[in-house]
Subunit: 135 residues, 2 copies
Amino acid sequence: MAAARPKLGGVLETALYVDDLKRSVEFYQRIFGFEPIEKDERLWALSVEGRHVLLVCQRGASANLPHTAHDATGQQHLCFAVDAAELDAWEKWLTENGVEIVERRTWPRAGCSLYFRDPDGHVLELATPGTWTIY
Amino acid sequence: MAAARPKLGGVLETALYVDDLKRSVEFYQRIFGFEPIEKDERLWALSVEGRHVLLVCQRGASANLPHTAHDATGQQHLCFAVDAAELDAWEKWLTENGVEIVERRTWPRAGCSLYFRDPDGHVLELATPGTWTIY
């Protein structure tokens, strides 16, 4: 009999590929308060509220790893959860910190999203509950 | 006085860019059991244990959105959390399902990681507690 699928906990790390590590880390620290927990010449690992790890990877620097080479170009997408009561404060915070809101969207389940870009043009989103069936 | 930084919940969505939506969704459903919660011609949204949303995005299909265009090429990295007691079962499960383990690594804090690739070559990792200071 085939084995059953083992259990999984959820997303632990997600990676963005950037042109300038220092610039990106400064942005994610200043705007979100994500603190570095490890760093080397390839990447900085930032703590997302102690729950997740955002890997900010220098483009090209992980492309020659022997078995686990990874690298990407382009403008990725990443979304963070926020309470509905915090969304207006986030809009104010982003604007005051020079981050332009490029779109504000309300979803059929009444969730609401703010969209903006990081220094590499990655599309970041803050979404409130009511965005997905599971959130 | 400057406003304080509002509160943030954690990572809600992360996106992988793929060449063949159907192939990728089949892989993530079969290997991880991630169920689709929404789909359109641009992307499928998969539920990661009801906690996160993995956006499997057709390469190029979101590149012309008016304000939130995103797209990426290359081989990204994504890591999921698993309990230490589940890691051997995952290794067996992956092997039985034709997924080659490309690296197994033990970390200084005693966490352990398995690395393998999805159909687009994205580097996936399963990591046990003891991988990071926060995990």
